[in-house]
């Protein structure tokens, strides 16, 4: 796959934007997670209102050959409702924290969605036939002519006894004319997409669930909250196994929390979890039933020269993702993205600065709480590029081979069909060049926390508050 930008290969261009245009954004409409399925054919978003919207990739249209397929709404459903925990007097928000697709197993699609407490398994399936033909009523539900029913009765009065008896009388029975019964037949109808909840995995988390991850064995998944990680069987809802518990006996001794967790893409026994201290632990489930002891511990020694009041806050890891190959993992902290080789624990193999210019602004970012924003990150299909979000509706991409990086903006202004995205620059020095934006004029309310990259193609989905932007490469 080609590089992320700049070169001769391709440029990113606008494809679609979803969501309302109003400046007035309803809280419930804010997108809280974005996820492509394994084939990239479906794209799911979850929002703060507990809804899940699934978009489907339409086949290329013949009359507009220059446009590759678009993503259109396939199914929308309410995944979670607001709840109240009466025992603890706590409100449970409906906000969808994470969505994870299951590998496809038959014609239907399955996904896991979770809010702070409850994980649900949803089935999204199609139906294009419906049954027709009733005995006792018309298609529109009115009872049929009573005489018909009476005639039924007369005609069938004889064999009633056989029914109660046994199948040995079956032969007699078949001689009776039962043709008055109508067996329903299935007739084609307009395609209907149904989302139905298949399993509800509840009551296993005391703290807020921050991650769910489906295991490569296709039968288990893990869910992580601030202090614990549980392992579930996809078919069993009434119990889960606690595999990590970092809750200290005395909560006053609490110094770190789990921020994210993920299963290895191929090795079903391996998972990682990141912590608020900027470290990542890799655990091997083969070693012991409880994974309180890690097998690998990834930590970069702190540079004493850059130590400040905010060091600990900004080193907290907000997301961890394995590469598709399973060889690397990527972590996002407040200012940077790091790529780690699973075979090297003492430092990352690559470090990319996302918005280094904010280092001087940490004080005000602390005051407006932005410093606690949880940015996510993602790999492209071939692991050669990575993407993560920033402020001012900017998002960043890094090409791992060429080490080139680019800042792009998700905005309504450039949302004309096939419009090429212009690289953005934030001025860091004293003098601001043309086309550059000064750090002070960045809008910190417009943040891009959630992005997703198509597993095979150069198609990306970027959630900017209540809008979902889809960009794709433009082949020159």
């Amino acid at each position: 796959m080609a590089g992320v930008a700049g070169g001769n290969d391709f440029q990113w261009c606008f494809s679609q934007v979803k969501g309302a245009i109003d400046e007035d954004v309803a809280e419930a409409d804010i997108i809280s997670t974005v996820e492509f399925n394994y084939s990239g054919e479906l794209l799911a978003t979850g929002d703060k209102g507990g809804r899940v919207v699934i978009f489907q990739h339409e086949q290329e249209s013949k009359n507009r050959p220059h446009l590759r397929g678009e993503y259109n709404v396939y199914s929308t459903f309410q995944s979670h409702e607001p709840e109240f925990d009466y025992l603890k007097s706590l409100e449970i928000e409906e906000k969808i924290n994470k969505i994870r697709w299951l590998p496809q197993q038959n014609a239907a699609h399955f996904l896991l969605s979770t809010n702070d407490k409850t994980i649900k398994l949803w089935k999204i399936s199609e139906r294009d036939k419906r049954a027709e033909g009733y005995n006792l009523k018309d298609e529109d539900g009115r009872l049929r002519d009573p005489f018909r029913i009476t005639s039924l009765r007369v005609c069938l009065a004889v064999p009633q006894t056989c029914l109660i008896l046994s199948m040995t009388l079956c032969d007699n029975f078949s001689k009776i004319d039962c043709c008055t019964f109508q067996v329903p037949v299935l007739m084609p109808m307009d395609l209907m997409v149904e989302a139905s909840p298949r399993r509800i995995f509840a009551n296993a988390h005391t703290y807020h669930i921050n991650s769910i991850s489906v295991n490569s064995d296709h039968e288990t998944y893990l869910s992580a909250d601030d202090l614990r990680i549980n392992l579930w069987h996809l078919e069993i809802t009434d119990r889960s196994f606690n595999i990590v518990d970092i809750k200290p006996a005395n909560m006053e001794e609490l110094t770190e929390v789990i921020t994210a967790a993920e299963c290895h893409p191929h090795q079903c026994n391996v998972f990682v979890y990141s912590s608020s201290k900027g470290t990542i632990r890799l655990c091997d489930m083969r070693a012991a039933a409880l994974c309180d002891r890690h097998s690998k511990f990834f930590e970069e020694p702190e540079d004493p020269s850059s130590r400040s009041f905010f060091s600990e806050i900004i080193s907290s890891i907000s997301d961890v993702k394995f590469s598709h190959s399973g060889r690397y993992m990527m972590t996002r902290d407040y200012l940077s993205v790091k790529v780690w080789d699973l075979n090297m624990e003492n430092r990352p193999v690559e470090t990319y600065q996302v918005h280094e210019y904010l280092r001087s602004k940490l004080c005000s970012l602390y005051e407006n709480d932005c410093i606690f924003d949880k940015f996510e990150c993602c790999w492209n299909g071939s692991d050669s590029a990575i993407m993560t979000g920033s402020y001012n509706n900017f998002f960043r991409m890094f090409d791992r081979n060429t080490r080139r990086d680019i800042t792009l903006e998700a905005s309504r202004e450039s949302s004309k069909p096939r419009a090429t995205l212009k690289p953005r620059k934030v001025s860091t020095g004293g003098k601001r060049k043309k086309d550059e934006i000064s750090v002070d004029s960045l809008d910190f309310n417009k943040k891009i926390l959630h992005t997703a990259w198509h597993p095979k193609d150069n198609v990306i989905a970027v959630a900017a508050t209540n809008n979902l932007y889809i960009f794709q490469d433009k082949i020159n």
């Binding site: 005609c155 199948m167 039962c178 078919e235």
Partner: protein, 597 residues
């Protein structure tokens, strides 16, 4: 309209109208799942009404296309179709059932798929050899090469039923399909294949077991996913049973040794869990040379789950050792490990061991038990974990047979007392349940001296479940020690509680009387218990009074008619006009049950 209503009513009355069947058919597609489910469960009725022809041409095609329904409906359908052969016209037409079952075998819900496979296996037996090759085997092939893993997993369960009944060319194809599925891309399919490997091996000719199955077994047992490897352990049992002894060493043992030392604790757990089966399958020689050291390692495993699974098998493993040097193997190899487990850090391991360790005494005999096992029992009786102590106490009968319980009684008593006073009521409940057993083994003297007070103390426990269990316990003790013992030791104490200031304790007296009267017999009941019950009918608490009515109803049949008429009847009549409605109700009920009206 009126006629319609009439016929509907007739239908509802279930007279000779077939209206209900029309309803059943319509409800196959009702919006209410429960009604659809009802219809599907009566599918045989519908089919019978339609006749075989229309069942084949209309009902089955409709059902085949309904496969998007709720799981419970599909599950019921999958089950029904397994018994449908006669309803489609007998074995000649049984293949008509294949299309709907094929669809059901591909749904994502495991229970439905499994049921569909079960039904397919069932009806495969009703296919003629020709039909099996023409209709059934192609279905298996389609499933085995399906796009979705759901269909491929289902195929795994069908090979073994058609293999024995098809021609040798088709047999070769089936073996090839099974091979392919064993190396499928998705772990789900490999797991399904691994779990059916043993079953498939059983129907194969021995030469193919050696050539095909062994290589598949070896491959699955070294699969990259431990969830697949652990299933190969199960297959190991069946395969080892099929092979002649001389081939085991080269064909099976390398893989089994590898599994017992697998990196993943789940695989080792599986080996521990299946150890007795494995032991029987490989025979005494290999057991002596290979399994004994393997078992030692499992007992010392670093993962507590594995140690617990192995500890659970200690008794069975020792029992099945070859008799000629069983004692020597246990004493030199197993017992040292067992000793370590007694002080294991994990309480599940200790309690697993405690549940079987007593069984070793019958195998080792009196002297070894006293010298080697007794110290372990005593240590476990003092364990900090109540479950460990309970497990020892619950298995006392094994030791009793070998060395008599007296050896233990000095340590037993403190352990029992401590459990009897445990802060957790479930622990107290558990020990109460063992009291009759203990009493039987310790004898009446020991019991009166040491345990009787405990049994009475439970009667005034603050948890109802304990008081209830204590009551039941007294009844069992009386059954054991007889009415005379009851009259001397228990009855006075129980009746004394009738004057307790706490009404809950007064009610306990009544509950005890309910439980004991039968075991104590007519005389004690009439002379000692009845006066107390009758006196309590004046209790100021209504709950006590209506329990008096209930008690009288209960003990009535034991009393003679004179007592009933002269003593019970007036009291019940008085209670029947009580101010409290519950008292009235139960008094009246007692009067009618005892036929005193």
């Amino acid at each position: 309209l009126r006629e319609g209503e009439v016929s509907k009513m007739a239908g509802a009355d279930g007279d000779d109208s077939l209206y209900p069947i029309a309803v059943l058919i319509d409800e196959l597609r009702n919006e209410d799942v429960q009604l659809r489910l009802n219809s599907i469960k009566k599918l045989s009725t519908i089919a019978l009404a339609l006749g075989v022809e229309r069942t084949r041409t209309e009902l089955l095609p409709f059902l085949t296309d309904t496969i998007y329904d709720e799981d419970e409906v599909l599950l019921a359908l999958a089950e029904q179709l397994g018994n449908f052969t006669m309803l489609v016209g007998g074995p000649e037409y049984v293949h008509c059932l294949l299309p709907p079952l094929e669809s059901l075998a591909t749904v994502e819900e495991t229970v439905v798929r499994d049921k569909a496979v079960e039904s397919l296996r069932k009806i495969s037996q009703e296919h003629s050899p020709v039909d099996l090759e023409v209709h059934f085997e192609p279905l298996v092939k389609r499933l085995a090469s399906g796009d979705w893993f759901t269909s491929r997993t289902s195929a795994c369960g069908l090979f073994s039923v058609c293999y024995p009944r098809v021609s040798s060319t088709v047999k070769a194809e089936i073996r090839q399909h099974f091979r392919t599925l064993c190396s499928d891309d998705t772990p789900m399919v490999r797991r399904a294949a691994a779990s059916k490997l043993g079953e498939f091996a059983k129907v194969l000719e021995l030469e193919y077991v050696k050539s095909d199955i062994i290589s598949l077994f070896t491959a699955l047992a070294s699969d990259e996913q431990d969830s697949v490897r652990l299933l190969a352990v199960e297959a190991c049992v069946s395969i080892a049973t099929l092979l002649p002894q001389e081939d085991l060493e080269t064909l099976v043992m390398p893989t089994l040794r590898q599994a017992a030392e697998d990196k993943s604790w789940r695989v080792r757990y599986m080996v521990a869990d299946k150890f007795s089966e494995l032991q029987k399958a490989v025979g005494p020689e290999i057991t002596k040379n290979d399994l004994v050291p393997a078992f030692q390692n499992l007992l010392k495993d670093c993962e507590a789950e594995v140690r617990a699974a192995a500890a659970n098998k200690v008794k069975e493993f020792c029992e099945n050792l070859p008799e000629d040097n069983r004692e020597q193997i246990i004493m030199t190899h197993i017992l040292p490990c067992v000793k370590e487990l007694v002080s294991d850090t994990n309480q599940h391991v200790k309690s697993a061991l405690a549940s079987v360790i007593m069984g070793l005494s019958t195998i080792l005999g009196k002297d070894n038990t006293i010298e080697h096992l007794l110290p372990l029992f005593l240590a476990q009786l003092k364990d900090e974990c109540p479950e460990v102590r309970l497990n020892i106490i619950s298995n006392l009968d094994c030791v009793n047979e070998v060395i008599g319980i007296r050896q233990l009684s000095q340590s037993l008593l403190p352990a029992i007392v401590e459990l009897a006073e445990d802060a957790k009521w479930r622990v107290r409940l558990a020990i109460i349940e063992y009291m009759p057993l203990l009493a039987g083994q310790l004898g009446v003297e020991f019991f009166d001296e040491k345990l009787n007070t405990l049994c009475m103390a439970w009667l005034i426990d603050h948890v109802y479940a304990i008081r209830e269990a204590a009551t039941c316990n007294l009844m069992k003790l009386v059954e054991k020690f007889g009415a005379e013992w009851a009259q001397n030791t228990i009855v006075p104490k129980v009746l004394g509680m009738a004057n307790d200031p706490n009404y809950l304790h007064r009610m306990t007296t009544l509950f005890c009387i309910n439980a004991l009267s039968k075991a104590c017999g007519q005389e004690i009941t009439t002379k000692q218990m009845l006066p107390v019950v009758l006196k309590m009918s004046n209790d100021q608490v209504a709950n006590v009074r209506f329990n008096v009515a209930k008690s009288l109803q209960k003990i009535g049949p034991i009393l003679d008619s004179n007592a009933l008429q002269t003593e019970v009847k007036p009291v019940l009549e008085k209670l029947a006009s009580d101010t409290d409605m519950d008292v009235k109700y139960f008094a009246q009920e007692a009067i009618s049950v005892l036929a005193l009206a």
